[in-house]
């Protein structure tokens, strides 16, 4: 599903920062993988490249057989929309939209009609057990509920991979466990390739495979 070959990434600032120094990685379809590393290790950069949020300098990245390299913003947006579901630490829901409207948004960018969009979003929210909260705004919900809305938004387009950046980071331990169980369940039941970036060993321990990254290289 994911194939990285010799990925290099340097940030050119006041001092050039060579963040990724040749990453080779293969992730098969249906895997539940965690990426671990200290801050500054390059794990967020790797996630951004995987999520087509950022470009890389050297190497090749194949996502579901498609080469993802030097894409235009519009193409990148389209690929993100169709292939990737994001789950962020800080949820990143749009504050002035209700739960269901947030979930509808990726479908809006796919050009799905209003009624169909609403129906699909409601189905996704139902799976998350949030039917009653559909018309609430994010600030009226608990952290766990917000993260479940975010997960529903990530799943509504039936993406090839789910990228979760510290999905439990902003949650209390009990809610964090619930969210992890949910992600595990989705992975096992719907066979969605899931990649979780975390520095929490408890979270990493629940995944099938742990990729440790240190100073821009993978040490397995």
């Amino acid at each position: 599903m994911i194939q990285l070959k010799g990925i290099h990434k340097t940030y050119f600032g006041a001092q050039p920062l060579h963040v990724l120094k040749g990453i080779d990685l293969d992730i098969a379809e249906g895997e539940l993988v965690s990426i671990m590393g200290a801050s500054g290790s390059g794990k967020s950069t790797l996630l951004n490249i995987l999520g087509i949020l950022d470009d890389y300098d050297e190497g090749d990245y194949y996502l579901a057989g498609t080469l993802i390299k030097h894409l235009s913003e519009t193409r990148a947006a389209d690929y993100r929309n169709r292939m990737i579901g994001f789950i962020f630490q800080s949820f990143n829901l749009i504050a002035f939209k209700t739960a269901v409207e947030n979930v509808e948004l990726p479908l809006f960018y796919q050009g799905v009609g209003r009624r169909k969009r609403h129906q699909l979003a409601m189905e996704e929210l139902e799976k998350m057990g949030l039917t009653d909260w559909a018309t609430h705004y994010p600030n009226e919900m608990s952290g766990g509920q917000r993260q479940r809305v975010a997960i529903a938004r990530a799943l509504v387009t039936h993406p090839k991979i789910i990228l979760a950046d510290e999905p439990t980071g902003a949650l209390d331990s009990k809610t964090g466990v619930e969210v992890m169980q949910l992600l595990k369940k989705l992975n096992s039941e719907e066979r969605i390739t899931t990649i979780i970036v975390t520095h929490d060993p408890n979270v990493a321990a629940q995944t099938n495979r742990i990729i440790r990254i240190k100073d821009g290289v993978i040490e397995e």
Binding site: D54, T74, E101, P106
Partner: protein, 419 residues
């Protein structure tokens, strides 16, 4: 498109303060511009209306006092216009002068009908006087050529003076004989009142008045209408020629500018028009600056909006929004908001103008001697209103474009990190 509108509606609904501030800036700009232009138009219309009371292409000539010694005569001599001058005016300037006539005044006449009397003053006029002064006859007729030829004792009276003689039915005075001092005159016409003018005189045939009051060959003032003098330079040349001719009649220096006085209503109108243009331009400049402040308001708020929403745009991009869709949403929002509030401002401006028209516009100001209106039709054409609103919308769009492009170009990871 409907999707986009719904999207904008949602955003604005959730950001009421921001939207209302933008809206206020826009609506205020348009409103002020329209009210300002309307008020300006009202003033200008009123002044035009006041000027229209006379025929533009007419001159009135008054006698004066020489200011230069000439032909063996000292300066400071009185010059009175006489029959000769009228004759010369009529005969020597045929290519420019249509009709020439003269006016003499006789003050302090008491007009009596039965028990009632009214104090007035007489002016002896030619028939062309009615054309030049735009006299409106409400009943009967004005002085005619036969009156002049036969020195008839007839008069044309302002309606308000006629009401003093027959209070209930002024028109009944038509054809009746009234006494002017000791002499009997027949009322042949009634002049419609013009409240914007001080009280009018009673008009009698020029020749009648001249004979009765023993004016000899004096004619008082000469008045004539002219044609073919298009520019200010034409008029000046004509005046110079005319002045020289009349001055020569009175042995005054041809270039003496005080021997006779020329009141040229055409050049006066030209100057008024020039002044009007200046006022109009000034109003537009002020108005456009007001509009500019509205535009600056819009762009300012658009800038803040885009900054505030950077993270939101980052989220949208992460889940699949293309740069074009981000651009579209900002621009459309800007256009819709400026358009909507611009329209409200325009409507309010028009309403304010209508209100001005209904209050100030129709209320004459009574000075005691005459009445006048300060505002006449203080409105702006609907075309101007729409044009101004469209200009603001376009300007608002351009103002929104710069921050929108910035937002569209920003990389999603950078946007997501923004707070």
């Amino acid at each position: 498109m409907l999707e986009l509108i719904a999207e904008i509606w949602q955003t604005t609904k959730r950001n009421k303060l921001r939207t209302s501030l933008t809206g206020f800036a826009v609506a205020w700009g348009i409103f002020m511009l329209i009210v300002l232009l309307g008020a300006g138009n009202g003033l200008l219309n009123a002044s035009n209306e006041n000027n229209n009371r006379y025929v533009d292409n007419s001159m009135m000539i008054f006698g004066g006092q020489t200011s230069k010694a000439y032909d063996g005569l000292k300066e400071g001599r009185q010059v009175s216009l006489d029959d000769n001058d009228l004759q010369v005016t009529q005969s020597r300037f045929k290519q420019n002068i249509d009709k020439a006539g003269a006016i003499i005044n006789e003050g302090g006449a008491t007009i009596t009908y039965g028990e009632n009397y009214v104090s007035s003053s007489l002016q002896g006029v030619y028939p062309m006087f009615a054309d030049v002064n735009k006299t409106k006859i409400s009943a009967g007729r004005f002085i005619n050529d036969i009156d002049i030829r036969d020195q008839r004792k007839v008069l044309v009276m302002p309606e308000n003076q006629a009401r003093e003689l027959i209070p209930n039915n002024a028109h009944a005075l038509l054809g009746k004989t009234v006494k002017v001092g000791d002499m009997a005159f027949t009322v042949v016409g009634l002049e419609q009142e013009d409240k914007s003018r001080m009280s009018s005189d009673v008009c009698v045939p020029f020749t009648t008045l001249k004979t009765i009051y023993n004016r000899g060959n004096r004619v008082g003032r000469i008045v004539f209408s002219f044609h073919g003098l298009k520019s200010e330079a034409d008029n000046e040349a004509f005046e110079k020629r005319y002045r020289a001719t009349i001055n020569r009649q009175h042995r005054a220096a041809p270039d003496d500018e005080e021997s006779i006085w020329i009141w040229n209503r055409f050049t006066q109108a030209l100057q008024m028009a020039k002044g009007t243009n200046i006022i109009q331009t000034a109003l537009w400049i002020i108005g456009l600056f007001t509009l500019l402040s509205g535009i600056v308001g819009v762009s300012n708020i658009m800038l803040i909006t885009v900054r505030e929403r950077t993270r939101e745009f980052g989220i949208r991009k992460a889940i699949g929004a293309s740069p074009a869709s981000i651009l579209r949403i900002i621009i459309t929002e800007s256009v819709v908001i400026t358009g909507f509030f611009g329209y409200i401002g325009m409507i309010l401006g028009i309403l304010a103008n209508l209100y001005m028209d209904a209050t100030l516009g129709s209320k004459p100001i009574e000075t005691g001697l005459f009445t006048t209106t300060v505002f006449v039709n203080p409105t702006v054409g609907i075309g101007t209103c729409v044009a101004v609103t469209i200009v603001l919308i376009i300007a608002g769009t351009i103002a929104g474009l710069v921050p929108a492009l910035k937002a569209a170009r920003i990389r999603p990871i950078v946007a997501l990190m923004a707070e």
